[in-house]
Point group: C2
Chain length 333, copies 2
Amino acid sequence: METEEVWEKIRELKPEIEDEIKEVIPENHHINYLYDQVHYHLKTGGKRWRPALCVLVCEALGGDKKKVLPFAAAIEIIHNFSLIHDDIEDQDEIRRDKPALWKKVGIPRAINVGDGMFAKSFVSASRSKEVGLSYQKSFKLMELLSKVVTSLMEGQAMDINSRDRLDITEEEYMTMISNKTGSLVGGSLMGGAIVADASDKAKRNLREFGEKIGPAFQITDDILDFSEKKGRGGSIGNDIREGKRSLMVVNYLQTSDDPTDLIDILDKPREETTERDVDKALRLLKKNNSIHYAKEKKNKLAREAISKLNVLPDNEESRYIEGMAKFLVERNF
Amino acid sequence: METEEVWEKIRELKPEIEDEIKEVIPENHHINYLYDQVHYHLKTGGKRWRPALCVLVCEALGGDKKKVLPFAAAIEIIHNFSLIHDDIEDQDEIRRDKPALWKKVGIPRAINVGDGMFAKSFVSASRSKEVGLSYQKSFKLMELLSKVVTSLMEGQAMDINSRDRLDITEEEYMTMISNKTGSLVGGSLMGGAIVADASDKAKRNLREFGEKIGPAFQITDDILDFSEKKGRGGSIGNDIREGKRSLMVVNYLQTSDDPTDLIDILDKPREETTERDVDKALRLLKKNNSIHYAKEKKNKLAREAISKLNVLPDNEESRYIEGMAKFLVERNF
């Protein structure tokens, strides 16, 4: 499947997901500061590919799209809640080329807006009952959501904790990004499978798909930070300026004879990191084969993830899902 | 019922609630920084009277305590999550006479710890199924929790928003504290009623009880800020230093001929507010009858709340609930 077709499908599903989000987060609400700011953040962009995957899996397995939309919206709301809080925690000032919410409204309000979205994601999941699911399925979706968000928070805890560490292992790193990225994608697919009454084996495979494609997506994102195309204020190497521990950095720290040069650059305060520092970091990572290593790892994860999709029936939706998986790890957006 | 008997009952229930919390937030977890810090916060104190109310209502209505404990724990976890985030948002450095979590571990980690508790409160509520409730009741409890926490966040939004305002009306103020305090207490009672299969009328009354006793509790708390006994680092008038809009302040702003003197004190940065300022504010509020007004309002709310308890059968647990209601608005802790 061509990339353009996948894009088209995601774009096609987006309005229904947006409408579903608005069911629980109305525009022009009387507590305008809270919900207006949610919409400010939501309008910074986002492709809504996670809820799109949720809907497509449900349909691929013969489920009813209408019944999965509240849960799909819940996944997207949780994702955006985590971006708002992560930006505060990481002091990231730019989100999707616009000021991060906390830069716009201050930390206290941004925390509260994130919390409001957290709450609303559960309200959205609880709408599953209203759109015709049984108590059992509605409960299982809410239970799933609470597990997903626990993983997210544990992943973020590991992430914050690992920033000062030089001895983080690849295994620890992979556990962390699997929590931070894989659980949400896995949860999105599991939700679709629950609504569609899929077998336990199908659910397990789909969860494993998410747990692999999520990290593959993250590694792709980190590699893209060195390319011109990613955006983020147009500058490359932002992760280096932030001292972020990516798989490339973890690999370098573990395999280079003397990682001091890179560590010095990563540990510099962001505003003191020069273009030359970024260039040097890039050269060091390349010379040590760490970028190549990350690409290989990402490809391996993607292959393993896609192999898990064999539980899906052979139909159009399944082909979109496979296309989307490839797209997520080969993208340049 | 004597205050001491109510205390004794709360103390008696506390260990079971603590054990239930540990079911979802284990001590000595491998992600120690996240869960250790939750326990640091939980150990700063707290009477656990909200979950105690939840358990007592369930028992008063003939329900099984074992089946309500996961939801009762969820209520307590949510309450503590909100304290952690509120302390950051309000820059409160002291919580229950100890450094607030964010002062101890920094804002990024404290946000994440709060989020982790938020997630775990839903995990706790989802345990309702495991302890023997039906899918229907388990779903209804999770749905209730998502509504409760939405109210909390809306209340906090209104609170942050009202801080710079001089024209806040009593009605707006009451809506705000009903959201911030009443919804959690109401939710706690509603949860107990759901588990015990209470009638819709009983549920409605109990929710209304919470919506009245919560604000009455908050007003009591604000009045206590002027007494020696409250603690909070032993000093009185902390709310004045923080510029907090309490019912007393709202009443003063609305009824005093010239509120400028009080506004000047409230608007001073906390560290510049002197003992004399606090004394003066207290005198102004007294002279304007605003403290008396708040006491009357609180007593009225408490009477109305207690009248709602007529839906409870005449038994020992019901007497504890009524005793607790009186205790919450007549306390000096």
